[in-house]
């Protein structure tokens, strides 16, 4: 029987044995990269919506408060997608000829739902409540990103469990004064930009966060049953 493999394949086998570690590491990294990629997490992905609603225009340029449309965010688990009536409060009078807004007018005329595509969705086995986060000084933009700069709404966080736990383990990293929760342009304190709370000036997020945590009685909840109930 002749040689099946050429002598040079010896080198290949040697490299592959010692390279096994590298290959496994590369595979692990590839998996991680896929898990963190927008293709898998939908972060930064703009979905096709019935109307190209712009948060940048409404919340950013016009300065309409988040709660004007998301009325239930302060006392309910879900923030609330506004009914068509809320859109028509203004758009019955302005941009009434815009073809872009025809689906909104049709929805109001025919009493049909506008079928928005969900941007942020959690698996059904996760319990999440907006109201408690709002009440404890977690700002809208902390999770939803720079919403006032998004012409089309997109997901800002991976919504992975690790993403939730990052903050639940150290809430002080993200807390802000309650008065600033709905400000889409809020900047955390830095050396160049002090944030005043109760007459005290803070120039460092962790220092302010620790103060607020004590003041607002923010627990670092990490029980499984906090979210999986």
């Amino acid at each position: 029987m002749g040689q099946i493999f050429h002598r040079s394949t010896n080198m290949v086998s040697r490299i592959s044995i010692y390279g096994a570690v590298l290959i496994i590491a590369a595979l692990a990294y590839a998996l991680y990269a896929i898990a963190m990629s927008p293709w898998y997490t939908n972060v930064g992905v703009k979905l096709q919506q019935p109307v190209p609603f712009s948060h940048r225009h409404h919340a950013g340029e016009l300065g309409i408060d988040c709660r004007y449309c998301h009325t239930s965010v302060e006392n309910s688990s879900f923030a609330g997608v506004p009914p068509t009536q809320t859109c028509m409060t203004c758009h019955s009078q302005i941009w009434t000829n815009s073809s872009m807004l025809e689906p909104v007018r049709a929805s109001y005329r025919n009493d049909t739902s506008l079928e928005w595509q969900r941007v942020n969705a959690l698996p059904d086995f996760v319990y999440f409540d907006h109201s408690i986060h709002i009440a404890k000084g977690v700002g809208c933009t902390t999770c939803h990103g720079q919403i006032a700069e998004m012409p089309l709404t997109q997901r800002a966080g991976t919504l992975y469990m690790s993403w939730c736990l990052d903050c639940h383990r150290q809430p002080e990293k993200n807390l802000r004064p309650k008065a600033e929760v709905f400000d889409p342009f809020y900047q955390p304190p830095s050396r160049l930009h002090a944030v005043t709370v109760d007459g005290m000036e803070f120039t460092d997020q962790l220092t302010m966060g620790r103060y607020l945590r004590k003041e607002y009685k923010v627990a670092s909840l990490q029980y499984c049953s906090t979210c999986h109930r």
Partner: protein, 223 residues
């Protein structure tokens, strides 16, 4: 020729091992099937309706159902005429259904800033951002006609809408509507107060507090 013989010899020895290979293969197939059976989304997508979840069960596709016409949920029979309509015996009245405290006014200001300022602006003169973008301008709160209107009028306008203004009943609870009405009274007073309205003991603080008010207003505008 030689090669052929070798092969047959090998296949012979293979045959002897065949049952164990078959078993391994079957085990692998079972394991594979088992693993892929585990790939289900039952827990991710549970057979329950979360808010706004669509359904194919109802013709309009909504899982949230409006109450059947004529039904009243327990505790929601609106018997308190003043509280829910701003009227007494059908007449608008100039009083509040509950005593207005400072906390109520603060809450009223907060709600006013969220829901009313887009058109009525932070001072109530009717020059809000949406008006500047083309919405018909509402009258200023500081005209005599609106100063003379009873508090119930403002409550009723928020509840039912008025002119180009839609109803805010779905967005603002009745108690908050009353608090906003109280805050509108504060705004009106702020534009129509005399020095004699201020108790003498407080007058010395006027310059100080007006400074505070300006800064509060400018931060309000910035928001």
């Amino acid at each position: 020729m030689k090669l052929k013989i070798d092969r047959s010899a090998e296949s012979h020895s293979r045959e002897a091992r065949r049952p164990s290979r078959l078993r391994i293969g079957m085990a692998a197939a079972c394991l594979g099937a088992f693993i892929f059976c585990g790939c289900r989304l039952d827990m991710h997508i549970q057979p329950k309706y979360l808010p706004y979840e669509p359904t194919s069960f109802f013709a309009d596709g909504r899982s949230e159902r409006p109450p059947v016409p004529g039904t009243v949920a327990r505790g929601q029979l609106r018997l308190d005429e003043l509280f829910y309509t701003g009227r007494e015996n059908g007449v608008l009245v100039d009083k509040f259904p509950f005593p207005i405290t400072r906390a109520d006014l603060e809450r009223g200001r907060e709600r006013y800033n969220v829901y009313c300022t887009p058109c009525h602006d932070y001072t109530g003169s009717g020059q809000g951002m949406i008006v500047r973008r083309g919405f018909p301008q509402p009258p200023s709160y500081h005209i005599q006609r609106l100063r003379d209107e009873p508090a119930g009028h403002f409550f009723e306008v928020m509840t039912d809408g008025f002119g180009a203004m839609y109803s805010y009943a779905a967005r603002v609870e009745p108690a908050d509507r009353w608090r906003i009405a109280a805050y509108i009274r504060v705004l009106q007073l702020s534009h129509n107060a005399r020095i004699s309205d201020v108790p003498e003991s407080e007058r010395s603080q006027l310059s100080q507090s007006s400074g505070n008010q300006n800064s509060a207003q400018s931060t309000g505008q910035a928001q």
